[in-house]
């Protein structure tokens, strides 16, 4: 137990240089972006004097090194600066938008795992059967349909034509108030507040974007599950287990699936990090106030503080995620320990 805690401590310490690197690189890269934020935010009508005023207010008139020192000083105090395009402190923006994105991405991943993993296992166990073909069709459809297309299609069918889905107006219909904020996840917060009505409303809003994203993320997970299961099932220990007369369930799930889980978890981690940053188009279609569209708009406007804050938040998130995945490896497969490193 002590060994494990120490191992985790070492892993955490290893993330520090990564984060420092991210801070430096994001600072330099944003400065290398074309465009002058002072000019952009002073507005088209502004004259030289007011542009200079904005430049000073943003601290952009100082040498790059001084700017960096100031930025790091602010960071140390937990101040990520203020976004010019939203007019809010970056921390406030992130605190509002990150849970929105996380809620959407996590529900999409849960839904997609619920479908993709059983589908992949069944496709591997009954190779060549109709379920294998179904898996192939779903996977092909999932990767070949761009998310914005699926999104618009779902809106068109379920909202516009059938009227089953609520208006795609973000996280909550304007008839409901945001539940008291605890986690920032509306589903959880509304349950904590015991407000089932808001819970149902938030769930309704979440349904279509979740399905859209789930369709997209289903493909890699199902493919990976199927491939990993096939490999596991064809290995020697499975043959041995079968020869020893173990039950089919014990063979498939106890030995096959558990060994196949490692690559699946790795894929899950990759899909999660990819989707969290890349679901801009889904966010736009469903007016979802997420972090992807925030980052893109900040980038277009050369909004330095917002871009840096976004990159840093994502970096911390990925580092944490990788840590969790590494730890879960050890849980799934006891052969993988931290001591070996």
């Amino acid at each position: 137990m002590v060994g494990r805690a120490r191992a985790i401590g070492i892993r955490l310490a290893q993330t520090v240089p990564v984060l420092i690197g991210v801070v430096v690189i994001s600072f330099i890269l944003t400065r290398a972006l074309p465009g002058d934020p002072a000019v952009y935010f002073a507005g088209a009508m502004a004259d030289e004097a007011s542009i200079q005023q904005v430049r000073e207010a943003l601290g952009l008139d100082k040498p790059l090194m001084t700017q960096f020192v100031l930025y790091v000083g602010d960071l140390a105090r937990g101040d990520l600066g203020r976004s010019l395009s939203t007019g809010q402190p970056v921390l406030t923006d992130l605190a509002m938008r990150l849970p929105a994105s996380l809620e959407l991405t996590l529900s999409a991943l849960i839904l997609s795992c619920l479908i993709a993993i059983p589908l992949g296992v069944l496709a591997a166990v009954r190779q060549g059967s109709w379920i294998d073909h179904l898996c192939r069709v779903l996977v092909t459809a999932g990767v070949s349909l761009p998310t914005f297309f699926t999104g618009i299609l779902l809106v068109y069918v379920f909202y516009y034509l059938l009227g089953l889905a609520p208006a795609p107006l973000g996280r909550l219909d304007f008839l409901y108030f945001e539940p008291p904020r605890v986690t920032g996840f509306y589903l959880i917060d509304s349950l904590l507040a015991g407000d089932l009505e808001t819970f149902a409303a938030a769930l309704r809003q979440l349904a279509l974007p979740t399905i859209t994203l789930a369709l997209f993320t289903l493909a890699p997970i199902a493919r990976m599950t199927r491939a990993a299961m096939l490999q596991a099932l064809s290995s020697d220990y499975i043959r041995t287990a079968r020869a020893a007369g173990l039950s089919r369930g014990k063979v498939v799930f106890g030995y096959g699936f558990r060994n196949a889980l490692l690559p699946v978890v790795t894929t899950l981690g990759m899909v999660f990090s990819f989707v969290l940053g890349a679901n801009v188009l889904v966010e736009k279609v469903f007016a979802w106030p997420g972090i992807g569209s925030y980052a893109v708009e900040a980038l277009v406007a050369s909004d330095y503080a917002a871009v840096q804050g976004f990159v840093l938040a994502m970096a911390i998130l990925f580092v944490t995620l990788n840590l969790i995945i590494d730890l879960s490896y050890a849980l799934i497969d006891p052969r993988i320990g931290f001591d070996t490193k």
């Binding site: 465009g35 007011s50 068109y156 208006a167 795609p168």
Partner: protein, 535 residues
């Protein structure tokens, strides 16, 4: 009716399972006049304070709806039947009356006695003075806009007594009074603002950024940045006729297709500033208003620093080679007003006006052959990525057409954050598209920004001594001065001949309405719900 959430949830539940369709409430409200109007817009609101640096155009609506100015504009019916604000009619807002001295230098306003801010305190001339001082001091866009009306320094404004406010001008100008009706000189509750000001922030920029402190028709009760803004009516408003709609919800919906589905289904009453294409296709399904934006023209600009464009024959060749109709149909889906094929003779002072050029490749060839660049030349055509929706198709059509003359163009796409610097400040783009629009609706004001030497939007580096002089003379001259019309017509004549900017078309502001009425076009291109009603 008090429509808090619990209340109508009970109501909808009482309506038997209607809670499943949350919009039942909005629909039911229709029957008794519109209680709540939901507006979908693709733009984000980034501040409640127009004077703040970095406040974007969408946020100007807060200044319009939550604050009053001394005066406002009346309304009129356009020849198309649509309603518009009326530049020529100034109506009282916070001022009950005003007088202008004989020399035109002193404007004296008397405030309405019963005007109050939303906190209940009276609006005084001190508040007006503080707000105007703020607008001319903070720099950036508000200060520039104030200067257009001749307001430069705080010492021009005086609060004589609680209800009398005086503005002293350096020179008489026809732009002064209308410029007090634009969104910028809005009147802030200075007591509240000062209570929240600090030494580093004497104008309470931080406080007013997130809170409104005005006397306007509405006040902001909720602002979720990036999602929605909720206006609630101010029942003590005296600035004009009491608005019918009690609550307005502005929802941000970034995707055009989503906005279109919402308006067609009737879940929002207004979809504001929709693309030309959606406007063209929605006609017949919902009410669509496509009002040509006053004093705004989409132009192809020829930079006078580029050698071939110094040859008048080359400029005319290009003016005859541009496929105007194709651009208007492809880039604007026919929404807006054509700016080509106008009469050769100038008999009126209408502006924007169609220039007397038409697409005629034979005449274009003839002009090019008469120039010293008969075999054509290569040129780079620049467009802004922020405005790609119309610039891209227009540029490609122009490219194709000029190619037939031997003028080979390459299209360069410039990121929005760079555009202003290269196009307007450095004025370094040889051939480019541009779209200046002026708030104050007079031709001389357009000339001031777009044709006068060294002005910001004169991205062609146009420098004509006579145009410069004429603009100086006409800018502040009253339009009913007998001298004004002939001078302005002479200005038209010169720029039509010189062609530093070739007008393509006048763009439209498209708004789709489903379940509401009373929409009016405003020069500031924001929704003014104050005069809107239910069906």
């Amino acid at each position: 009716m008090n429509t808090n959430r619990r209340h109508f949830l009970k109501l909808t539940a009482a309506m038997g399972g209607a809670a499943m369709t949350p919009f039942a409430w909005a629909k039911r409200a229709d029957a008794q006049g519109l209680e709540t109007m939901v507006v979908a817009s693709g733009q984000t609101i980034n501040s409640l304070d127009l004077h703040r640096t970095g406040t974007n155009r969408a946020s100007y609506q807060v200044a319009i709806n939550c604050y009053d100015r001394l005066v406002g504009f009346g309304s009129r019916q356009l020849p198309t039947g649509e309603m518009s604000y009326d530049y020529d009619t100034i109506v009282p807002e916070l001022a009950e009356s005003w007088t202008i001295s004989d020399d035109g230098l002193t404007l004296t306003f008397t405030l309405k006695a019963d005007a109050t801010f939303t906190d209940g305190s009276s609006v005084t001339a001190e508040d007006v003075k503080w707000s105007f001082d703020r607008a001319v001091t903070v720099g950036g866009f508000p200060t520039t806009q104030m200067q257009a009306g001749g307001f430069f320094r705080p010492d021009q404004f005086e609060a004589v007594d609680a209800r009398t406010f005086v503005v002293r001008l350096d020179y008489p100008s026809k732009l002064s009074l209308p410029n007090l009706a634009v969104p910028v000189p809005f009147i802030i509750n200075s007591t509240v603002a000062l209570a929240n000001a600090t030494e580093a922030d004497p104008w309470a920029m931080e406080y007013l950024h997130t809170t409104t402190a005005g006397s306007g028709a509405y006040s902001v009760t909720r602002w979720d940045q990036g999602q929605q803004l909720v206006y609630e009516r101010n029942d003590a408003w005296v600035g004009g006729p009491m608005p019918e709609i009690r609550r307005v919800i502005m929802r941000e919906v970034p995707h055009n297709s989503t906005r279109r589905a919402l308006i067609e289904r009737g879940d929002v009453q207004v979809s504001f500033d929709i693309p030309d294409r959606d406007a063209a296709e929605l006609v017949g399904t919902v009410d669509v208003f496509s009002t040509p934006i006053e004093n705004c023209i989409h132009c192809a600009c020829l930079n006078t620093r580029f050698e071939p464009f110094q040859d008048p024959e080359v400029r005319k060749a290009i003016a005859h080679a541009i496929p105007y109709e194709a651009i208007f149909q492809t880039a604007a889906y026919g929404r807006g007003a054509p700016m080509w094929g106008g009469p050769a003779e100038i008999t009126d002072t209408a502006w924007p006006r169609p220039f007397p050029y038409v697409t005629d490749m034979d005449r274009a060839r003839a002009h090019l052959e008469a120039s010293s660049f008969a075999s054509g030349f290569p040129v780079q055509m620049s467009i802004s990525l922020d405005l790609a929706s119309w610039m891209e198709p227009a540029a490609l059509l122009i490219q194709e057409s000029l190619g037939q003359l031997g003028i080979t163009t390459t299209v360069e796409r410039i990121p929005g954050a760079n555009w202003r610097t290269v196009a307007l400040v450095e004025k370094s783009l040889d051939f480019h598209l541009e779209n200046f629009g002026g708030w104050l609706n007079t031709p001389d004001y357009y000339f001031f920004w777009a044709y006068q030497r060294d002005r910001l939007f004169n991205s062609s580096n146009y420098d004509n001594e006579e145009v410069h002089e004429l603009t100086e003379r006409t800018l502040h001259m009253p339009m009913d001065d007998p001298e004004w019309a002939p001078l302005v017509q002479r200005m038209f004549q010169i720029v039509i001949e010189d062609l530093p900017r070739i007008p393509l078309y006048q763009p439209a502001l498209n708004v789709a309405v489903n379940g509401a009425a009373g929409y009016e076009f405003w020069f500031h291109r924001q929704l003014d719900p104050r005069r809107m009603t239910g069906v």
